[in-house]
């Protein structure tokens, strides 16, 4: 911490426009040293240690001016879950906003590049930020779940239940908040009486299930044929491996079948 303070003091000397007090109160200062693998490139938003005039604040939506006409901008990798697990809640909260700003910056740059018919350099940066944000969310979610389980005995996740949809197929419904309780919501009550026992739905379901059945049947036949061809070409193949790979095929039965025998005269023991 003290080293960063010294750095800031030096910066203040060189810049000359900012006071020491304003630097102390800048929350993002300590985040300048943050980057997953000494890359520094991914988290540029944390670099603004001076308090900018308003015009410059909106420039946070743009990349560093030295990258504006570049064809390639090199950055590090995304944050991993394991790295995020050892961070405190406060640090994760700060990092989320850094990533949010970074994503906004990249989206702005991409939009402008598309508008001007230019190539947006290294578009995978957006994916990296997205992966980082997803990982961060996973970690926060784990903590949230643990806390809820400890305090209430429930996960605190959004409740889900299995319902039948308009085609009579089972699907999961994720509950959400409503302004009206169910018994007062007449419109919703009416919509529930839509049956799915009609002729058209019956026909649809018949054909839909046929399609599912065909896919299953074809997959079964395919694996059966694959096993037969393997046995025909390699009579001494490792059966344990085959059993592990094709668990749904009766290999002992196939071994005895004529198709798996191969085009040679079998040896007959005298």
């Amino acid at each position: 911490m003290s080293s960063t303070l010294i750095k800031c003091l030096n910066l203040a000397k060189t810049v000359g426009t900012v006071t020491f007090k304003s630097l102390l109160t800048t929350p993002q200062k300590q985040l300048t040293a943050w980057s997953p693998a000494a890359n520094g490139g991914l988290l540029k938003c944390g670099m603004h240690t001076t308090s900018p005039v308003r015009q410059e604040r909106l420039l946070e939506f743009f990349d560093d001016p030295k990258h504006w006409s570049e064809n390639e901008v090199k950055v590090g990798r995304a944050w991993k879950t394991d790295e995020l697990r050892i961070k405190s809640n406060k640090e994760l909260h700060q990092l989320w906003y850094i990533l949010l700003k970074e994503r906004n910056m990249l989206l702005t740059m991409e939009h402008e590049c598309n508008d001007k018919m230019e190539i947006f350099p290294n578009p995978e940066r957006i994916d990296k930020v997205k992966i980082s944000m997803d990982n961060l969310e996973t970690v926060v979610r784990e903590r949230n779940k643990a806390y809820h389980l400890l305090e209430t005995g429930e996960t605190g996740e959004r409740p889900q239940r299995a319902v039948h949809n308009a085609f009579g197929l089972r699907c999961t419904y994720k509950s959400c908040e409503h302004a009206l309780p169910p018994f007062m919501n007449t419109k919703w009550i009416k919509s529930r009486h839509l049956g799915y026992g009609g002729r058209a739905v019956h026909k649809f379901l018949l054909q839909y299930r046929e399609k599912l059945y065909n896919a299953k049947r074809k997959a079964k036949n395919r694996s059966r044929n694959e096993v037969m061809m393997i046995l025909r070409r390699n009579p001494n193949f490792d059966l344990e491996l085959l059993k592990r790979k094709y668990s749904d095929v009766d290999i002992e039965k196939l071994r005895r079948s004529d198709k798996a025998r191969g085009h040679f005269v079998p040896k007959v023991d005298a």
Partner: protein, 150 residues
Amino acid sequence: MSTRWYPIYQRGNPQLRVFLPNFWMKLVRPTEEQPANVVTFAVSTEMTKHDVKNYLEKIYKVPVVDVRTRIALGETKRDQTYGYVTKKDDVKLAYVTMPKTEAFTFPDLFANKAEQQEKEEKSMDESKAGFRKFLERNKKRPGTPGWYSI
């Protein structure tokens, strides 16, 4: 996740607090001429005017006087060969007014682009010429390694 759900607000409830907002905002070049203190943003469609104001004030520390929003219809396009219609996503545009003292002009990002490209082309031409020279030199002795002659 419970904290990531945007709960419905009813009068009398405590103010909503979002800990990890998922909203995005893009600063876009205005299509029409605008006053210097007005900035155009493309934002997540679910964002309200209050969200835009809070987002800019709390995260970017930009003072906001007024926000107007509209949802721009995505372009539809008919396929030339098969005739089906494709549509781009709708996007919410937010016109943010800052105080009169502030000013923002959209920067020209590709001012140095032509210069840079020229430089690159020059170096490319040089290396091409070098390779041609190398081929010319080794024309009469095919298969000789590159380090053979100086």
